[in-house]
């Protein structure tokens, strides 16, 4: 039975967690190209000095990464000074090193020396559009209300993003939100005219984009700096100081371009950066440490993790939902509340639910499993309750009058009669979870969403497919497995495919 394989995998994954418990340094990164490269560089640098590293590269946006650092789920990630001053800490006036350090200290966080380049926000338009309209400065924007603008979701909300820019320059239009990695494609195919960019993005040159001059000096400075927990091993901190002042704007821009257009992996780009700058450690194994796993290894790791997430959510959800369904069946007053609450869970957008769980349980697989569990409850619960309440009253009367004990009644009458619907509900839940689990990569839970998120950030279709195709296949496979389970558990004439009212 394929269920056995799933369980065995789950056990293997769970066991590998137990082994990893000897406190490696957790290196995270935000989820765009530059962050991948710098996060990987930090990880390799530490490994080259013999530290054990747990990578959470591409973990998420500012809030997710910073909260994880404060919670102790992450030990180091690369952030930008402007972001710290504006989005994380709200520092008034010029954000000096001193002010930033004071603001971070209460969180148990310390800022190390910056990489040296300034990756500030910029507004980019295709050169052709800029020339046709005579656009050169941000202060020209109010004269072009018909420009089709789309900026990243974070930029749209941040005080140092669109809201502040709008106020200072008197722009009235509100742009649409768009995933940053998709914005350049949208510019190239002419579906938008303007987006926010980072000044070190490799795409600026590649797509022939003009950066509008920030003529009123709105955008703060965004120096890339490693943020570490103050309780990080001092030796590790010293190693990380080596990155200070190693990259200027042009060099960073070239590294980014190498990832997006040069077809090189962020891992190998990070490695050559460390080697070129001569800051790699002396650990003999450093070269071997580079994570160069094959497609097959990545696929099986991601798929295994994905199955673990789904199984760890759906199996407990099945037990809880079926238990609840029987409670509802026996105590009808209980039913409305329980079904409402399960329904409510279903309506919370998955990304929002994942984000809400971070302050409660941190990042990684646990919040993902909890979120998936909540999503799995409703289809199983609803199916089981419908099945139980639609059991013919005569059969219930006979079961009582025959003298079946409550446990026998369950085992021999109610459970088997509800089984086709319960199996159908679990099947729906499993397929929903396989899809939703791809989003779990946004909070560092891994799985098949990992290559998708990374592929989005690197604008790499091959990577996106590396997650999307197995996820879709897994969903189809799950359908097949459940058909087999149904054949095994339910006599032919009672199967959901033959019974009206139980199919979803």
């Amino acid at each position: 039975m394929n269920l056995g394989v799933t369980l065995a995998r789950t056990a293997v994954v769970a066991a590998s967690f137990a082994v990893a418990a000897e406190e490696p340094i957790v290196v995270a990164s935000k989820n765009f190209t530059e962050a991948y490269i710098l996060g990987e560089a930090v990880a390799q640098l530490l490994e080259s000095e013999g530290f054990e590293v747990d990578r959470k590269i591409g973990l998420g946006g500012t809030k997710i990464c910073y909260d994880a650092l404060v919670e102790g789920d992450v030990d180091v990630y690369v952030e930008y000074t402007g972001t710290i001053a504006e989005a994380i800490k709200n520092i008034d006036g010029e954000p000096t090193r001193q002010k930033i350090a004071e603001a971070l200290a209460p969180d148990g966080v310390e800022m190390l020396d910056g990489f040296g380049f300034n990756n500030t926000y910029a507004l980019a338009v295709p050169r052709q559009v800029a020339e046709e309209r005579g656009l050169g400065k941000i202060s020209d924007l109010p004269d072009h209300p018909d420009l089709r603008m789309a900026v990243s979701h974070e930029f749209l909300e941040r005080p140092d993003g669109w809201p502040g820019l709008q106020r200072l320059y008197g722009i009235e239009e509100i742009p649409d939100g768009i995933e940053h990695a998709l914005a350049y494609e949208a510019l190239a195919d002419g579906s938008i005219d303007l987006t926010d960019a980072y000044s070190t993005d490799g795409e600026l040159k590649r797509y022939d984009l003009t950066v509008l001059e920030d003529d009123r000096g709105f955008f703060p400075t965004y120096m890339a700096v490693p943020l570490v927990r103050t309780d990080l091993d001092p030796r590790a901190r010293n190693v990380l100081r080596r990155v200070g002042g190693t990259l200027d704007d042009v060099e960073m821009s070239d590294l980014n371009a190498a990832a997006v257009f040069g077809g090189r992996s962020t891992e190998s780009i990070a490695a050559s950066y460390l080697v070129d700058k001569g800051i790699l450690g002396t650990n003999a194994e450093a070269e071997v440490v580079l994570p160069q796993d094959s497609l097959v290894a990545r696929l099986s790791r991601n798929t295994g993790r994905h199955l673990f997430l789904v199984a760890a959510a759906v199996i407990p959800a099945t037990l809880v939902a079926v238990g609840l369904a029987f409670a509802i069946f026996k105590l009808p007053w209980f039913s409305r509340g329980a079904v409402y609450i399960a329904g409510l869970m279903q309506t919370i957008p998955s990304i929002a639910l994942l984000a809400l769980l971070i302050p409660l349980v941190g990042i990684g697989w646990l919040p993902a499993v909890i979120a998936l569990f909540l999503y799995a409850l409703l289809p199983i619960l609803r199916n089981a309750v419908t099945a139980l309440t639609s059991i013919e009253p005569t059969l219930r009367r006979v079961a009582v009058a025959m003298g079946l004990k409550p446990a026998e009644e369950l085992r021999h009458v109610f459970v088997p009669l509800a089984m086709p619907s319960i199996v159908a509900g679990v099947r729906t839940a499993a397929v929903i979870c396989i899809g939703t689990a791809t989003l779990a990569a946004f909070i560092g839970a891994g799985g098949l969403g990992d290559p998708i998120v990374k592929g989005l950030a690197l604008n790499d279709t091959r990577l996106i497919l590396e997650g999307a195709i197995p996820a879709a296949s897994l969903a189809v496979l799950t359908e097949l497995v459940f058909e087999a389970v149904e054949r095994w558990l339910v006599p032919g004439h009672l199967r959901s495919s033959n019974t009206a009212g139980t199919a979803i």
């Binding site: 009582v400 003298g403 004990k405 004439h493």
Partner: protein, 245 residues
């Protein structure tokens, strides 16, 4: 009426209400080892009275004595297993085969396989079912076969009493006559006290020894079938008897 030694069920001043009283002050004794039929217009409380016997319902006034004792407060399942029960439409479990339906209680009582098989064989022979049907699901059986199976299930544990709630009313008339014969064979073999609820006076006269006529919120007349037929207590009873003449 006093509780004679040979009464299997004794009602003393029994009343039952849901919103309104269904009936009140029922005093009645049903003879042991005989078949009693409860007849009356629909809605007069026949099924309610029957459900007081196996304690699916409890009386709101008065007391019910069954098989020489009061209805127990605990261990109701063991009590109910001494009382077989069959309903209109047979009520077989759709997920169990014929033989699984019939033998369910015996298996729960941990009878050994041979004993189960022997009892199933004995009952099938009495009601005219053949063993090649053993592994069919209810939907693969005819209506008549399902009802025979319902009777066998009720009789599986050799109960002290058999309650039948209009068990033959959904069967076509020709099959019904056959089943009457088989029921009588079963009855003759098992000698079990039977209480039959029916709206069909002909069925009552054919199968029962003792007749209970209900109506107007209570029992109108009760007695041996011949007695009731020869001297109906009221015009209402006379009309009822004539309706099946």
């Amino acid at each position: 009426m006093s509780a004679a030694q040979d009464s299997a069920v004794v009602f003393r001043g029994v009343g039952k209400r849901f919103d309104d009283w269904v009936f009140r002050s029922v005093d009645l004794a049903l003879p042991a080892k005989r078949t009693s039929a409860i007849v009356g217009e629909s809605g007069c409380g026949k099924t309610t009275l029957l459900q007081l016997v196996n304690a699916v319902l409890r009386p709101d006034e008065g007391s019910v004595e069954v098989l020489g004792g009061g209805v127990p407060d605990t261990g109701l399942e063991a009590f109910r297993r001494r009382i077989g029960y069959a309903v209109q439409g047979a009520g077989l479990f759709p997920h169990l085969t014929l033989v699984e339906n019939v033998s369910l209680l015996a298996r729960l009582e941990r009878w050994d396989g041979d004993a189960v098989d022997a009892r199933v064989g004995e009952l099938f022979e009495l009601v005219g079912l053949t063993r090649d049907l053993d592994h069919r699901y209810p939907h693969e059986l005819s209506g008549g076969q399902q009802h025979r199976a319902g009777l066998c299930r009720a009789m599986m544990l050799k109960p002290d009493m058999l309650l039948l709630d209009e068990p033959f009313s959904a069967i076509d008339p020709i099959t019904r006559v056959d089943i009457y014969g088989e029921f009588e064979a079963l009855q003759g073999h098992e000698q079990v006290t039977t209480v039959l609820v029916t709206h069909d006076i002909r069925e009552a006269r054919r199968l029962a020894d003792f007749l209970v006529v209900m109506g107007g919120g209570g029992v109108v007349q009760a007695g041996a079938v011949d007695e009731v037929v020869s001297s109906p207590a009221s015009d209402q009873v006379r009309r009822l008897l004539e309706s099946g003449a």
